[in-house]
């Protein structure tokens, strides 16, 4: 039989819908005078984040005599922050990013990310702008906002900011889900509970922001001044999909370095490779970083929702397995 895996998995309708969606996104930001920028997809530094796996390639050329590691970016965050430190101002980017080991009905090795930064915004203001974008692109209703703590209290009746690992594990087991694989790792248990219990209980028909993630999951967000147990990090969920992750950005180079180093210590404990810290990013933060908030949105998932599709392959011309 003739092999048919040369064909795109996206319908013509989906290919057109993607073009339209990207046009709408650009119009949204042009209207608001947010500058479209472009940053490298291949950088000398990767991410230390324990839960992200960079794809790596080795390149050489004039000025670079030996084959050298270049990392496919898992998001354009670091180079965009260098632009912000250099004074570029409000900016957005629509680009491809690459994450190794992520393939599922909702994941593809490479996918399209929309990322933007707003000077002078905090996380709550950026949520409002993302809500406006959702209404514009998908015609959604107004969004709900609830804290990570509220979300856990209503879904599991436990307070994630005070509960012990054993208490979280018991609450997960009470929902009929085994969690031995993360036994006494509090963040692992919270991640598991978030994905399998809390998220599925959110109303799929209302865009829902979950904000004030635990400080241990702050990543690149600043911690809260009033309550240092939480960070100014938020996520957006809609139609059963995680659509966005945003921060009121950490501007402190010293604290950022400590977090990167903590990631690498955790990597060592888990037997994962050490990742060189992005010194250019830290230099940029040290040189003076504007007060800003930023967010990354999965564009392919927006498209899945817009077209009512259940598998990411339906919105990709050539998903990784037939790329």
């Amino acid at each position: 039989m003739l092999n048919s895996d040369w064909r795109p998995t996206a319908s013509r309708q989906a290919i057109i819908a993607r073009a339209d969606l990207q046009h709408q996104i650009r119009a949204f930001f042009r209207e608001r005078q947010v500058l479209e920028v472009e940053t490298p997809v291949l950088c000398r530094a990767g991410v230390t984040d324990v839960h992200l796996v960079n794809a790596v390639t080795r390149l050489q050329g004039q000025g670079l005599a030996k084959k050298t590691n270049y990392y496919f970016q898992t998001s354009p965050e670091y180079p965009m922050k260098r632009l912000l430190a250099a004074g570029v101002g409000d900016c957005f980017q629509l680009c491809k990013v690459v994450r190794d080991e992520e393939l599922s009905a909702r994941h593809n090795f490479e996918f399209t990310m929309l990322e933007w930064y707003r000077l002078g915004f905090d996380d709550q203001q950026l949520m409002t702008e993302l809500e406006e974008l959702m209404i514009e692109l998908l015609g959604t209703s107004a969004a709900n906002r609830l804290s990570y703590q509220q979300a856990f209290l209503s879904a599991l009746n436990i307070d994630p900011l005070v509960a012990t690992a054993a208490e979280v594990a018991n609450a997960i087991r009470a929902k009929g889900i085994d969690c031995e694989v993360v036994a006494d790792d509090l963040d692992g248990l919270l991640n598991l509970a978030m994905s399998l219990i809390v998220e599925p209980q959110l109303d799929p028909n209302i865009p829902t922001f979950v904000y004030h993630f635990p400080a241990s999951q702050a990543v690149l967000a600043r911690t809260n001044e009033q309550d240092d147990r939480v960070a100014h990090r938020f996520e957006l969920f809609y139609q059963g999909l995680e659509l966005a992750n945003g921060f009121w950005e950490l501007a402190d180079a010293f604290e950022q370095r400590q977090r990167f180093e903590r990631d690498n210590r955790q990597r060592a404990e888990l037997g994962l490779p050490q990742i060189d810290i992005d010194e250019r990013l830290l230099s940029a933060l040290e040189s003076g970083f504007p007060d800003c908030a930023g967010v990354a949105v999965g564009v392919d998932r927006l498209l899945m929702i817009k077209l009512g599709m259940k598998h990411i392959d339906e919105v990709l011309t050539f998903p990784s397995l037939r790329a």
Partner: protein
């Protein structure tokens, strides 16, 4: 010892869980953008038949189960074991009561069954979806009742008891669905 990583998980893959061979039914990766990746895996335990869900960390490995399915013909029962023969190799295998289980009442001599072998030993015996068996005993049925609504019990040559329409009589061969244990029709002559 062969192992599989979660990346190799797919429907039908045989793995060991809690010391019991299992067949994967469904595998879903759950991965937040910033957070740990897990696999939620639905498996069927091959001995008990129970379906359970299990959480794995993505990338974890599990031991492979040495399980294979084979079609064999039923030969005879020696009082303790049920003996089957592979029609291609003529190799014979004995299955115990636990492996044969409920299938006992559908085993027809010289008839085919599917055996699941774990480390070469039968753990389940599954008869074909439909078998044809002779009725050895049933009430003659009430004269005049032709609606066939209620039916009546009939004992088959294997000892199985199924409900049959009133018009079906002792000595007839009927077709039975082994999954539901229900009468389907009279056998085609």
């Amino acid at each position: 010892m062969a192992t599989y990583s979660t990346n190799e998980f797919k429907g039908g893959l045989k793995i060991m869980l809690d010391g019991e061979p299992c067949s994967i039914v469904e595998n879903e990766m759950v991965k937040p953008g910033k957070g740990q990746a897990f696999n939620r895996v639905k498996v069927r335990k091959l001995i008990s038949g129970r379906v359970i869900e299990k959480t794995f960390k993505s990338g974890d490995t599990v031991e492979a189960a040495d399980v294979n399915e084979i079609e064999m013909d039923y030969l005879y029962n020696d009082g303790e074991f049920w003996h089957f023969m592979n029609n291609e190799t003529f190799e014979q295998i004995a299955a115990d009561k636990d492996a044969v289980g409920e299938s006992i009442k559908w085993l027809v001599e010289q008839g085919p069954s599917t055996l699941v072998l774990w480390n070469g030993k039968p753990i389940t015996v599954t008869p074909p979806n439909f078998v044809e068996l002779e009725i050895i005993e049933t009430d003659p049925g009430l004269r005049g009742d032709t609606a066939g609504t209620g039916g009546k019990p009939a004992t088959l040559s294997t000892g199985a008891v199924v409900r049959v329409p009133l018009f079906v009589q002792t000595g007839e061969v009927i077709r039975v669905d082994t999954r539901s244990g229900e009468y389907v029709s009279r056998a085609q002559k």
